[in-house]
Amino acid sequence: MAIFGQTIISAVAAGAIYALIAVGFSLIYQTTKLVNFAHGSIAILAPYVSYSLLKLGLAMPVAVLGGVLAAAAFAFVMDRVVLAPLRTRHISVPILATVAVAIVIEAVTSLVWGSQPLYLESLASDEPWRISGLSITPNQVVIVGITGAVVLPLLWIIATTKVGRAMRGCAQDPEVVTLFGVSPARMYLLSFVLGGVLAGLAGVLIAPVTGLKPTGGLELSTIGFSAAVLGGLGSLPGALVGGFLIALLINMTQVYLSAGYGLGVAYLVMALVLLVRVRGLFGDDIEAVRQV
């Protein structure tokens, strides 16, 4: 029972990070109808930059902030330089471009920081508190706290403000929203920058747990995309829930089956959802909407 409880605690902390990634995925998809396969790679850029800033002698909070801003800046440049010129092309073209960006990030991080794993300090202590026989670390509490403090206000903004409505409208009919004074190009850019912030945060939170390696981006993209698909691609609350569910499945599999099967479960969930229920748990009933 203690193992089960401990698995749940670990899953909640990991789920918070996966939720950050998944919400970013869904936010970009919700606005642009684009699956950004470079999302996980942008996430690992942040801890690499933080690592270098720490080496330069900057304080941890400044280094973390610098890493997150670097991820957001990269997302900004990616949208303007790589994706904006491709917007008039078939959707498969910009999607393939995101795959290319992911490959470039992996190669460049390998070149700059080496292919050996690097380690980044946690934001808070990893010395556990013992509560009713279970261990909870201050860092796990910080991870969940940061996710809540960032994602919940974002969900509120997207659901209730005019910018949120414009972003949602853009994905469904980018031409018609221009008739109300909305600039789709600005909304796409905004979704990428916000997605970059979420990815960067996820990166600096997960790097102390998993270590930093250039291939980590693909892993994060897989998990984040699976969580977003499970929650319903384009549904932000769905992505939040999907993040926690995927973490629970991965952690349970690792504890009760084999540590090596964790990522395989993410792939399996993604494949099953896409085959059986493409709108996931909370996504739009796409077919119903199309038929109207």
Partner: protein, 260 residues
């Protein structure tokens, strides 16, 4: 513009009404580098006036509205609203300049609620102005309030058309462009839409209506134009156009008479 109680309504003098409305002068419009779809087209829609553009499929009616709302560039000529030239502005800037366009097929955002669709129409407003515009639109089209929480994609065609018109009114436009608003609607809903259109025009908004249903649109309009192969071939008072032999022979066929 939706005129609130107590606000000054447009002057009745036709010259003043024209100056307060939409003036299109000699525009030429085409797609990409293709041939011109509209050639040397001019028209004036005064404030508080309904101007119907009728014509066959492919005459250039939709192209005209797309050009006026900035979705297509004008190669020549000018478009002025309340005396201000906004030829060549992007659709976003045209929308902010006081033109609202209800495109063909309604184009409501299906996954969003009717209320969110309305609020999206008032994107350019501040929070207070948005609330005020919403109150005014719901007062004018009270049916919208009853579907507010429903997703727009689940509304009937007629409900979606009223929603699309209400959404366009949220920006408090000076000129309203309506593309085939009667298509696919039951006769009862067609009547509703035409009545709402008259109410909106009485409030001072210049309405440019593009329709295939020649009789119904000209019966509602003050003036009109017959568009043929991108040129305005006949312009005048709606009643005169309806009586014109050329229109009767060329455009009021058996099918149209049956619809009327």
């Amino acid at each position: 513009m939706l005129w609130k109680a107590g606000k000054e309504r447009p002057k009745e003098d036709p010259a003043v009404r024209a100056e307060q409305g939409l003036v299109v002068s000699g525009i030429e419009v085409g797609y990409h580098r293709g041939p011109a779809i509209l050639r040397d087209l001019s028209l004036t829609v005064g404030a508080g006036e309904i101007f119907a553009v009728v014509g066959r499929n492919g005459a250039g009616k939709t192209t005209l509205l797309r050009a006026l709302s900035g979705l297509l560039p004008c190669r020549r000529g000018s478009v002025r609203l309340q005396g201000r030239d906004f030829t060549g502005l992007s659709a976003e800037r045209v929308a902010r300049s006081g033109i609202a366009h209800v495109p063909a097929g309604r184009r409501v955002i299906p996954g969003m609620t009717a209320l969110d669709n309305l609020k999206l129409g008032g994107y350019q407003h501040s929070r207070t102005a948005l609330a005020s515009a919403l109150d005014d639109v719901l007062a004018m089209l009270p049916a919208l309030a009853t579907w507010g929480a429903r997703r727009a994609g689940t509304l009937s065609g007629g409900e979606q058309q009223l929603l699309a018109i209400g959404r366009a009114l949220m920006s408090r436009p000076v000129a309203l462009l309506l593309d085939e608003p009667l298509t696919g609607l039951s006769p009862a809903y067609q009547q509703d839409v035409l009545e709402e259109m008259s109410k909106i025009a009485k409030g001072g908004t210049a309405i440019l209506l593009v329709e295939q249903n020649v009789r119904k649109s000209l019966r509602t309009a003050d003036r009109g134009m017959v568009l043929d192969e991108g040129r305005g071939v006949l312009t005048g008072a709606a009643a005169e156009l309806l009586a014109a032999d050329r229109l009767r022979d060329g455009y009021l066929g058996v099918g149209d008479a049956r619809q009327a």
